[in-house]
């Protein structure tokens, strides 16, 4: 089993293709409206910017229901979203959310099929946004992450991109985003297959990296 064999079966999608128009046109419209409402301001934690090509797992804190929209319009890439089955709803809502790139995952079971769909999206070269805290967390301090994020990034062989997002306190305040440095599971674990203790260690490292983004947010935006 080799790290290099994981990406050989799925071909990367082109950045622009007619097949994405049914997704990209509504996204552009929503993005335009969202951009006017939230006017997101994005800063980077360092000069090392995320790669412009290839898939990545974007992990963010979950402060408000508008986080996916704010990040979707700010990251300059076609973004897919990991959503709980409950959030996906039923009928037309499900159809609409799937059209916007949401991938449902059932948190009540070990949803192997949902994880595979999410992994394939990243293997095809897209960004996938997930909130590894699991649910909405309005308290400031991040204390715990789900380790599923690490599993997915390892399986897709893509970098993890930590971000911190917060919409404005008042309706007229701009949303703020801090983009961290991307990293790979292989940066911290040389084994082709990380053990459960490696995964737990990487989950703690990921939490630390998200906290760095949070700290940068307070340093940069709150001191102004």
């Amino acid at each position: 089993m080799s790290k290099d064999t994981k990406n050989t079966t799925i071909k990367q999608d082109p950045a622009v293709h007619i097949k994405f128009l049914p997704i990209d046109i509504p996204r552009a419209a929503v993005g335009l409206i969202g951009g006017i409402i939230f006017r997101p301001k994005k800063i980077y934690i360092s000069d090392k910017r995320p790669s412009r090509k290839g898939g990545a797992l974007v992990i963010a804190n979950h402060y408000s229901y508008s986080d996916p929209l704010i990040l979707g319009i700010s990251m300059n890439r076609r973004m897919y979203y990991l959503a709980g089955e409950l959030a996906m709803g039923k009928g037309l809502k499900t159809l609409g959310l799937k059209g916007c790139g949401c991938i449902g995952i059932d948190r009540n079971i070990s949803d192997l099929d949902g994880i595979k769909r999410a992994v394939n999206v990243m293997k095809r070269g897209h960004y996938l946004l997930m909130f590894p805290q699991g649910r909405l967390h309005r308290e400031e301090e991040m204390t715990e992450l789900k380790s599923g994020a690490i599993l997915m990034a390892w399986q897709a062989n893509v970098p993890i991109l930590p971000v911190y997002v917060k919409k404005g306190d008042k309706w007229y305040n701009r949303a703020k985003i801090v983009v961290g440095e991307e990293f790979r599971v292989s940066d911290y674990c040389e084994k082709a297959m990380p053990s459960m203790s490696d995964i737990n260690k990487l989950t703690r490292i990921t939490l630390d990296k998200m906290k760095e983004c949070e700290q940068k947010y307070f340093e940069y935006f709150k001191k102004k």
């Binding site: 089993m1 079971i109 070990s110 994880i115 599993l151 297959m193 053990s195 459960m196 203790s197 995964i199």
Partner: protein
């Protein structure tokens, strides 16, 4: 190497050699005896797919109660 031995090797990798492999046989229960709960089970399923080149689905997971069940599942899908 037979399926049981390959599976034991996989358990050893996933648990960083912390798991005592000698006592593992087909009757060993995955959850109760090996202590594999949700995320570990999910990881094990992914690892099995990679190691054996099989395709597992949500429907297969509830049937993976014992090591013997996993072996039968792998051999059915090979």
């Amino acid at each position: 190497m037979d399926t049981l031995e390959r599976l034991k090797k996989l358990f050893s990798s996933v648990y960083d050699g912390e798991m005592i492999l000698d006592g593992i046989d087909e009757k060993t229960r995955v959850s109760e005896d090996l202590g594999m709960k949700s995320i570990a089970m999910l990881y094990m399923a992914m690892a099995i797919e990679q190691e054996f080149g099989v395709n597992l689905t949500n429907e297969d997971l509830p049937h993976m109660q014992t090591v013997g069940d996993i072996i039968r599942l792998i051999e059915e899908k090979l």
